[in-house]
């Protein structure tokens, strides 16, 4: 067992600082391919070369390539979780209602065991997000689950759209209104945080423009927060906004209209179904829970039929986890949309593949089985929407990152030399209460 482990460890360790990520070749034979965009193909092969999907067809013959027999199994694109907080060392810089300048990509943790556990659930990409303590939180990072690499830089998904976390509703109100006794304490205040930030950024951009055009000769102050907010107004930084109540969702869309921002993805958006037509009209995306509700008052009037209603009203919808537990069975969470709303197989699976890819701006690279896309693929032993489905192998860029037949118990990359048995963590009742507000114990509670 030990040698197996060392072999696995050595196999994946590359100590270079450069962000050259590993790619692989593999031929997956004779599986049922769920392509998402081109139907379900039975008894079909999939060839990945240099990390990209090269061929899809029957009886592909090729030279000396690693071959995996997928007879009787299902092959689908790697699952994408559009809302996650794993693999980062800092989630919430909860000291100010606007901290647009901080970037969770600065604090990636490639040794987080939850990455491996997500791979064991078929998730190949996650959107590592800042938490929801602030109305304007921080910049996020789309990461690929390249388990085994040591350099945090190699986790980045090169070329992914830059995103930033906004938050509406009870969380920023609790942290700043109740905790810090500063605005926002109400939803009225939350709106003003955005209007202030955007207006100040417009002035900031003008001041620098004047300086660069020679209209003034002393450089204005450099403000890294305003730089970030300016990027939002320029369209270089896409907003993903934690939101629940219908009225606050409408509020933000109106604010964005006033400032010329066109793209937004709402997160959680538990009451999104109440304003589905408005979301569709704006072109806003929605990334929702499968069935979480009633943990806060703002989600008391929500429904597990949310994803179905949004989908049927033309809103591009995904199902996310926001949890290091749910991320491990997103395929099951997507299946719930069949019980709550009767979505078809393809509609349900789109919620965790192509749709989150669109929301993260990476749909040219991942989200479906098409030639030219990244070799991010999962093999299931049964149809992924069955509760009995178990992921067998997960590939990222054509490299095996999870293989159920080569899966020793202790998969940790880094081991604390001061601890023999890792600490036993008691079960947490309602993990989701904590997940988006991680890291705030000092600010919220007088410890």
């Amino acid at each position: 067992m030990k040698t197996l482990h060392i072999y696995f460890f050595v196999f994946f360790v590359f100590g270079l600082i450069s962000a050259q990520s590993e790619t692989g070749d593999v031929l997956i034979k004779n599986g049922t391919l769920i392509t998402i965009t081109d139907g379900v193909k039975e008894n079909t092969d999939l060839l990945i070369k240099n990390g990209k999907i090269d061929k899809i067809g029957k009886n592909i013959s090729t030279g000396d390539v690693n071959t995996v027999d997928a007879t009787g199994m299902y092959v689908m694109p790697g699952i994408i979780d559009a809302h996650s907080h794993i693999a980062i060392d800092a989630v919430n810089e909860g000291t100010n209602p606007n901290t647009a300048e901080v970037w969770v990509g600065d604090a990636l943790d490639p040794y987080d065991i939850n990455i491996y556990r997500a791979l064991a659930g078929g998730v190949t990409i996650s959107h590592a997000m800042h938490g929801s303590a602030n109305a304007i939180g921080g910049q996020c990072e789309t990461i690929k689950h390249r388990w085994g690499i040591m350099n945090p830089e190699e986790m980045r998904m090169e070329g992914a759209v830059r995103t930033i976390k906004f938050a509406l509703g009870e969380n920023p109100m609790r942290v700043h209104g109740e905790g810090g006794r500063i605005m926002p304490a109400t939803r009225m205040g939350v709106e003003q945080v955005f209007r202030n930030a955007f207006s100040e950024a417009q002035e900031y951009m003008k001041a620098w423009e004047d300086y660069n055009n020679g209209k003034s000769d002393m450089a204005p102050e450099y403000n890294i927060r305003m730089e970030a907010v300016s990027d939002i107004l320029k369209g270089d930084l896409m907003i993903h906004c934690h939101s629940y109540r219908a009225d606050e969702i409408l509020m933000l869309m109106n604010v964005l209209r006033d400032f010329g921002v066109e793209k937004i993805c709402f997160q959680h958006v538990n009451e999104g179904f109440k304003v589905a037509p408005e979301l569709a009209e704006f072109g806003a995306y929605a990334s929702v829970f499968s069935d979480w509700w009633a943990y806060k008052f703002e989600v008391y009037y929500s429904t597990a039929y949310n994803s179905a209603i949004l989908t049927k009203n033309g809103v591009i919808t995904s199902i996310n986890s926001d949890s290091r537990e749910l991320i491990r069975h997103l395929y099951h969470e997507a299946a719930k949309s069949q019980r709550y709303g009767g979505l078809t197989d393809n509609e349900a699976l789109r919620l965790i593949t192509l749709n989150p890819a669109i929301q993260l701006g990476i749909d040219d690279r991942v989200g479906s089985l098409e030639k030219g896309k990244d070799g991010d693929v999962v093999i299931f032993d049964k149809h992924p929407l069955s509760v009995y489905a178990i992921p067998q192998m997960t590939f990222v860029d054509g490299v095996v990152r999870f293989d159920i037949n080569s899966d020793p118990a202790d998969m940790r990359i880094e081991v604390d030399p001061n601890e023999t048995m890792p600490a036993f963590m008691e079960a947490v009742d309602h993990e989701h209460d904590d997940s988006c507000l991680q890291g705030l114990n000092e600010l919220l509670f007088d410890k």
Binding site: I113, N114, R117, A120, F273, K274, A276, P277, E278, E281, D291, W292, W293, A294, Y295, K296, F297, Y300, Y301, T303, A304, Y305, A308, I309, K312, R324, E325, R328, H329, H332, A335, K336, Q338, R339, Y340, G341, L385, S386, V387, Y388, A389, I390, D407, P408, A409, D410, M411, R412, M421, P422, A423, F424, M425, E426, A427, D429, H430, D433, D434, N441
Partner: protein
């Protein structure tokens, strides 16, 4: 003019149902004949038979039943299942998680065994219909908190008063001192935790000894001073009520088994997430186990990713009586999916289904009335078009205490109202 009156008259009938949307359907009493379906009998397999519900009970199970006045329900192509039992929840004891004044399961005080979960159950909790439409018909609802937080009660998910809902089982909860971290923010050293543990044990021993003395005094005929805490312990000490010991970590489980067996009481272990490591001790002492949620992360970073999924199955295969719980408040409806994952990761399907039906009924000593489709048991059952563990399956009919329950809840009402919203987009 007459045409106008006619139009108005028609509208008067049509409009109200259009404007005021949903009809709230009520639970329906009566005699029901489920014809032509298959019945899930677990150890006795699946048989094609009819089932008659009358007087709140399963009156008859036979090949071809006929009844003059029964309402016939066509179950051809469908399967009838016994209602599922979630053996560990806080259902009815909490409404909105972040609002503490809606949370009734955690009272102040370390030793509060006298707190009765049953009286605090909110029979009108919005979560109850949400739960039962997935086929869960009874739950054990459990107080939480410190050492002895209170007395849990089993309830059926139908009724307008707690007493109407009560199913006839109560258990006293004991949160066994643990050697684990309380959360990812708990940064105490191993020694600090050990020290705190030892102190807790000394206090527990003190309390337990006092309870035993109190019981002895009562047994001897004398009446001690009013002491609700110790009074609540009496049924446990007299083996009239079992102790539900919540314990999860391996060493602590072994200590709990040892302690429980020494005390001459009836006890049930709950939680038991590292139970698969000590299954032989569990079988040796024939300790019944309630474990879950199955959909949970491993408790140690070094554990295999699926230990929580496979725990129940491993224990059951070793001969332990295992029931599965969600330990949830508002999402108890996920019980069938928890059982489904246990079945996926090594537990036989039949055993997983038993773990949410007959086994908890047996553990709670109510299996004469609950847990399976048998004559004269209470009619808690549902009818589905497939495996209830599969999300794709639809539940068609639901019966609790013989009432036909509408398959509606807040979630379905919102779906009905908003799937095609009227008015739609501005200006439409």
């Amino acid at each position: 003019m007459n045409k106008l009156i006619l139009i108005f008259a028609i509208l008067a009938f049509v409009l109200p149902s259009g404007l005021y949307g949903q009809q709230i359907n009520k639970a329906e009493a009566g005699i029901f004949l489920l014809k032509g379906g298959e019945l899930e009998l677990m150890d006795d397999g699946r048989i094609k038979a009819d089932l008659l519900i009358q007087d709140g009970l399963i009156k008859e199970i036979a090949e071809n039943i006929d009844h003059p006045t029964a309402q016939r329900i066509d179950c051809s192509g469908l399967i009838v299942f016994p209602g599922m039992i979630d053996s560990g929840t806080r259902l009815g004891l909490g409404e909105v998680g972040s609002i503490s004044l809606t949370q009734d399961h955690n009272e102040i005080g370390t030793y509060t065994p006298q707190m009765q979960a049953l009286t605090a159950v909110n029979p009108n909790s919005v979560s109850i219909p949400v739960t039962r439409v997935n086929g869960v018909t009874s739950v054990l609802t459990v107080p939480s908190g410190d050492r002895f937080p209170g007395t849990a009660a089993m309830i059926d998910l139908l009724g307008y008063t707690p007493n109407q809902m009560y199913s006839g089982f109560k258990g006293l909860v004991f949160n066994f001192p643990s050697a684990g971290r309380r959360g990812w923010w708990d940064s105490r050293s191993e020694d600090e935790i050990k020290k705190a543990n030892k102190k807790q044990w000394d206090e527990i021993k003190d309390f337990w000894d006092k309870a035993k003395l109190y019981n002895k005094i009562i047994a001897g005929g004398k009446k001690p001073d009013y002491n609700p805490q110790l009074q609540a312990m009496v049924p446990v000490l007299n083996k009239e009520m079992p102790l539900l010991i919540e314990v999860n970590e391996r060493k602590a489980i072994l200590s709990a088994i040892k302690w429980g067996s020494e005390q001459e009481i009836d006890y049930i272990l709950t939680g038991v997430s590292e139970g698969y490591l000590v299954a032989d001790s569990l079988t040796k002492y024939d300790v019944p186990v309630i474990t879950g949620p199955v959909l949970n992360n491993p408790s140690r970073n070094s554990d295999h990713y699926d230990v929580a999924y496979s725990n129940a199955g491993k224990m059951q295969k070793a001969g332990v009586r295992v029931a599965i719980r969600t330990n949830e408040t508002e999402n108890v409806r996920n019980l069938p999916f928890n059982a489904g994952f246990a079945a996926a990761y090594g537990m036989e399907w039949k055993e997983a289904f038993k773990a949410v039906t007959i086994i908890p009924a047996q553990i709670f000593g109510v299996d004469d009335k609950y847990g399976s489709l048998e004559r004269n048991k209470i009619a808690n059952l549902f009818v589905a078009d497939g495996d209830p563990f599969e999300p794709k399956t639809d539940i068609k009919y639901l019966f609790i205490r013989g009432y036909n329950i509408p398959l509606e809840s807040r979630h379905s009402y919102l779906y009905d109202e908003f799937l095609e919203r009227e008015p739609g987009l501005d200006g439409n």
